[in-house]
């Protein structure tokens, strides 16, 4: 085929292969390179694209809840304002700081992995996990208060006036407070689930780092888990003002 030469040359640019064709049954590059990839760069790019696609999916997953929030807040603005006052801004703010800090340590863990400083990577990953646990503990106390005060979703909404925020004392209990707490528990619950999954995955990455799987050549999994963790953080950044800081 006369066109073969030029086409193949053009193609090797197009699809990002650094070498166009060779017999793959022989030597296949470094240990971490999976059999179906040609080069480490291709493997890294693929993994990263896959993670970004997964994160896009995550955004759409939360999008349904944000839409529901928007609709019911515009229908019942006063009820939402009342219900928002029942949330503890101090605890929510503390959780925001904890999560932001954990995002920082996750990002530093990636840098440390790239530099190949294994011990430091492990420490940073552990700090991230500790922060995640801290977040859950604070969240637990918040939930406990909501249960105690009857600030629950839908037909379980039955506030106990002795446990309500001082700022709403004397105001009538709104009819649609249950809608707010339905959305509140769904949003923070699904987000909390993501935090728990994150703890599990970061722990797994920590184990692999301890086993010495990552080097300055190969740190893709650390990078990916940090991407996931930033998304969990980012969603909280939106949840906090939407739920805690409305008036």
């Amino acid at each position: 085929m006369s066109t073969a030469h030029t086409d193949a040359a053009a193609a090797s640019h197009d699809s990002g292969h650094s070498h166009a064709a060779h017999d793959d049954h022989g030597s296949h590059g470094p240990k971490f390179l999976a059999h179906h990839f040609d080069t480490p760069v291709q493997q890294f790019d693929t993994a990263k694209l896959g993670m970004w696609l997964f994160l896009a999916q995550e955004l759409l997953f939360f999008a349904g809840l944000f839409v529901a929030y928007g609709i019911y807040r515009s229908w019942y603005p006063d009820d939402f304002s009342w219900a928002s006052h029942q949330l503890d801004r101090f605890m929510g703010g503390a959780n925001t700081i904890v999560l932001l800090f954990s995002s920082l340590t996750a990002a530093l863990a990636v840098r440390s992995a790239q530099l190949g400083t294994r011990k430091q990577t492990s420490v940073l990953l552990l700090v991230t996990i500790v922060c995640a646990f801290g977040f859950l503990v604070i969240k637990f106390f918040e939930y406990q208060h909501k249960f105690h005060a009857g600030l629950l979703p839908g037909n379980l909404f039955n506030p106990d006036i002795h446990h309500l925020s001082a700022s709403t004392q004397g105001l009538p209990i709104p009819a649609h407070g249950g809608s707010f707490f339905g959305i509140y528990f769904m949003m923070t619950g699904v987000h909390g689930l993501h935090v728990i999954i994150g703890i599990g995955v970061i722990f797994w990455i920590w184990l692999r780092n301890q086993r010495g799987e990552f080097t300055s050549e190969y740190w893709t999994p650390v990078d990916l888990v940090a991407l996931y963790w930033h998304l969990v953080d980012l969603i909280w950044i939106y949840l906090f003002p939407l739920l805690y800081l409305i008036d």
């Binding site: 085929m1 066109t3 193949a8 040359a9 060779h22 179906h36 291709q42 839908g154 649609h176």
Partner: protein, 567 residues
């Protein structure tokens, strides 16, 4: 890079290797090795088995529906039983069969091969999505065992959050099943997009992608972006049912119409998850059996992408009578008409491909041509439903039932079976009885039109859907339609006979039995573990019959099997 030209050849080399290399079926035999396999071809075949099992289950429910509707009043079952049967028919066919049918079974098998890759981007994720699918199927089965759902496959609130027919928990199990199946679909989509972007062999640039790949790409985008919305919607429904969350419950200040918006925001794009891969299959079949490039390749490819994008903007046309605002209705109607354009472009380009082709009416081609006929009917009847005032009359009648069966069965299922016939020799390495396959096709084709053409008239005369019983004036047409359902059943049975006979005693398939220029035919049948014995370099497009060598296309039409080089 001068030496590339020497290695940069396609098939004949691989065909020669076929006798020495072990194929992916012979490699590490044993059921255990299959269950933990990371090979996309084996995963594709496991999907295929699961999907055909689901199809048979859904088909049995369809026959039960048509038996019940043979005559007025109770024929074989109570109203509650009927409501469960049509719900299960819909839920199984949509979530367990059609959505994964072409992408997960055929797509998994073919995508890496036609890209010249050794596997999909994430083989372990691929196996995971298969097991997630199995888990979803088990949950669906569990919901049937503990009492079954009677909500319709759309799970509309507040019926689904309050129905007390049967078990209270069945709705939770079934929606849980669909939630889980959704993640199987999402993971497959992520995997395929990454594969198409990053795993292409040298020379396989975007303008050389087979149209099946373009269609799969568009499908995957929808799977990734639409399915999570269904997931969160069903999670809300489960919470509503379990804890009285109140998001969709008017008594608690919620809005049942919001559920419909959420549901169709997924389920309308999902229609394109179902039909786009079928269109991709038909493009491959028409090209191969006309021996020429698909007319207007770029327009066909881009129409897939256009359908995926516009498909996100038309969900409201399922809700013209629901009480959404008149302005929303107006916009959704206008956008709905826009969807007709890319669908029409595809059909016209397929027909134009036939012009001056070298047409062979092999069994896959019959399915391909049937797709054009049936999808045209499905598409044209869509014009009635997009037109606002006409839709008001036809909405939720048998006209809609007939319309979407023409698109989903006449379109996707015919394409799926066409693709199954087409790639069967590649997947199993076996040939099948071409004559009996054609008989099965004609029985299926006649039975299908028999069943569903009559339902258009039932619907436009005012017969509502999801009715257990009906008025006397509808009895003749219902009975007529029911007879057609049995003809379909016979056709499908014949087709199963064809495939089973092929597996048991079929002759060995040559690498390229249809004489196609497509890349998947340039390796042995079945392919070796890593698809090609060496990384291929694509030097021409998959439809460049004029550039393909004699050897690549060697005379391999079915009647010439004996003359082919293989034993």
């Amino acid at each position: 890079m001068a030496n590339e030209a020497q290695v940069a050849t396609l098939a004949p080399i691989d065909a020669a290797h076929a006798t020495t290399d072990r194929d992916f079926i012979q490699e590490s035999a044993g059921i255990r090795n299959w269950l933990i396999t990371l090979d996309h071809k084996r995963i594709g075949l496991m999907y295929l088995i699961a999907i055909i099992a689901s199809f048979i289950a859904g088909g049995i429910f369809a026959l039960l529906i048509r038996i019940e509707l043979l005559s007025q009043g109770q024929t074989i079952m109570s109203a509650d039983a009927y409501n469960r049967v049509f719900t299960l028919h819909g839920a199984i066919m949509v979530f367990l069969f059609i959505i994964p049918s072409v992408p997960a079974a055929l797509g998994n098998f073919l995508l890496p091969i036609v890209l010249g890759a050794k596997d999909v981007a994430f083989p372990r994720l691929n196996l995971l999505s298969f097991y997630v699918y199995v888990l979803g199927a088990i949950l669906a089965l569990a919901s049937m065992v503990i009492g079954s759902v009677d909500t319709g496959w759309t799970f509309y609130t507040p019926y689904s959050s309050s129905s007390d027919v049967g078990s209270q928990n069945a709705v939770i199990w079934m929606t849980g099943a669909v939630f889980v199946l959704g993640f199987s679909s999402i993971l497959t989509g992520v995997n395929f997009i990454a594969t198409i972007h990053k795993m292409r062999a040298p020379g396989q640039h975007w303008k050389r992608l087979p149209l099946f790949v373009w269609a799969t790409y568009a499908t995957s985008v929808i799977q990734v972006l639409a399915t999570p919305v269904l997931a969160i919607t069903l999670l809300l429904l489960i919470m509503e049912r379990g804890f009285g969350l109140g998001i969709f419950d008017p008594r608690l200040g919620g809005d049942p119409v919001l559920f419909q918006h959420f549901f169709w925001f997924y389920s309308h794009p999902a229609v394109y998850i179902m039909i786009l891969p079928g269109m991709g299959v038909v493009s491959e079949i028409i090209a191969t059996f006309s021996r020429r490039e698909i007319f207007g390749y770029m327009f066909v490819a881009m129409s897939s992408v256009a359908l995926a994008l516009v498909g996100f903007l038309v969900w409201g046309h399922h809700m013209f009578t629901s009480g959404q605002s008149e302005y929303a209705t107006m916009v959704f109607s206008a956008l709905t008409f826009l969807v007709a354009i890319p669908s029409g472009v595809k059909v016209l380009n397929w027909v134009a491909t036939l012009y001056q082709g070298q047409i062979v009416l092999a069994s896959p081609m019959l399915y391909g041509l049937a797709f054009i006929v049936l999808f045209s009917i499905g598409g044209l009847t869509g014009l009635f439903l997009g037109t606002l005032s006409v839709d008001i009359h036809l909405h939720d009648t048998y006209f809609v039932v007939a319309h979407f069966h023409y698109v989903m069965v006449g379109g996707t299922v015919f394409a799926f079976f066409g693709g199954l016939h087409y790639w069967w020799p590649k997947m199993t390495g076996k040939l099948y009885d071409e004559t009996l396959a054609k008989v099965a096709f004609w029985v299926f084709f006649v039975g299908f039109n028999w069943t569903f053409l009559s339902q258009f008239i039932l619907g436009s005369r005012g017969m509502p859907r999801r009715y257990y019983d009906y008025l006397p004036q509808f009895e003749d047409l219902h009975r007529f339609s029911s007879i057609g359902a049995f003809i379909i059943g016979v056709g499908i049975l014949l087709m199963l006979v064809v495939f089973i006979r092929s597996l048991v005693g079929g002759a060995k398939a040559p690498p390229n039995p249809w004489g196609s220029a497509g890349f998947e035919w340039q390796t042995s049948s079945p392919p070796p573990l890593e698809n090609f014995s060496r990384t291929p370099v694509m030097t021409r497009g998959p439809y460049d019959y004029h550039l393909a060598t004699e050897a690549e296309l060697y005379s391999g039409f079915p009647e010439d099997f004996q003359k082919s080089r293989n034993p």
